[in-house]
Symmetry: C2
Subunit: 201 residues, 2 copies
Amino acid sequence: MRTVGALVYPNFELLDLFGPLEFFGWNADAFRIAIVAPEKGPVPSNMGPATVADLSLSEADHFDVLLVPGGWGRSIPVDTDRIVPWLGLAASRSTHVLSVCTGSALLALTGFLDGRRATTNKALFSWVEEKRPEVDWQPKARWVRDGTLYTSSGVSAGMDMSLAAIADMIGLEAAKGIARGAEYQWHQDPDDDPFAASALV
Amino acid sequence: MRTVGALVYPNFELLDLFGPLEFFGWNADAFRIAIVAPEKGPVPSNMGPATVADLSLSEADHFDVLLVPGGWGRSIPVDTDRIVPWLGLAASRSTHVLSVCTGSALLALTGFLDGRRATTNKALFSWVEEKRPEVDWQPKARWVRDGTLYTSSGVSAGMDMSLAAIADMIGLEAAKGIARGAEYQWHQDPDDDPFAASALV
């Protein structure tokens, strides 16, 4: 049994979080889910609907799988002073680290991605890249795996990436079974990135 | 501005709810989101993580867009005694009604779908069909539109359906823009149902 710990913060992006958690949560024998946030209790998303944090940052310092959704982009602020120090330690202590969309921008600020291959939202690619040029940012990738670090492109790409990470952890057939159960057409090729062009403009 | 009211109940399915809400919520000029449940406050999903209801059933009786996620299937109970009477009235008073996955089973119990074309989760198709044979259940459809009623196949299909409903409400280009922004490969053909076969066994 692995614990998937998802970091949330005000203005997290709904599908960045709940797409991956749908797939991890599908197999309750393999994964249990915890939501961690600066404070316990309700945390509002970008779009209004809130989720509820089970743990505050001071109550957890690593997970088997650490998931970092996006939601931070352009004008949406994130309380990086509180989150970044925790995230740097939690990422270094967790077995698998996954980020979705601009979640990789937060993760990059910790230095955890320095010298590693990673990707992010394609429409915000330059904005993310400038935050931490030390990262080997990939402009064309649905998602990137570097060891046990997985970073995905924008929003929906987090679902394809999560199924790939699940396949690496519990097997390809198990991941395919989850996709089939959720009637999800899994795009299995990490290099097939139909939204890459917007990173190049 | 239209209000999207999403009905939640304990054990709702995460992606049935948050896939559609990601896309509706993307355009804050066109849609605002409300979560309604038997009681206000946190409501746990199938997979653990909770959302927070803004309204109890007694505080709302219709929406511009009523969204009914699934989560009820086989052994997972739903408090139909409380939900079904409310849902029958709310569906008849709402302008657009959308259900995802086994959300259509709940909606069918109200009689609102009688004589209308609808679909549901393909792995649970027979289970749903038997609940209300008066519905013209479609075994092969990613989603079905019948007037301003939209019902989708399992879990992920709710995202394709919601983009189609958004296109009908605010235009095809607006819907395509949302899909592009969320880096989502929208399957636009409601008749292309790669999971239909499981409804026929």
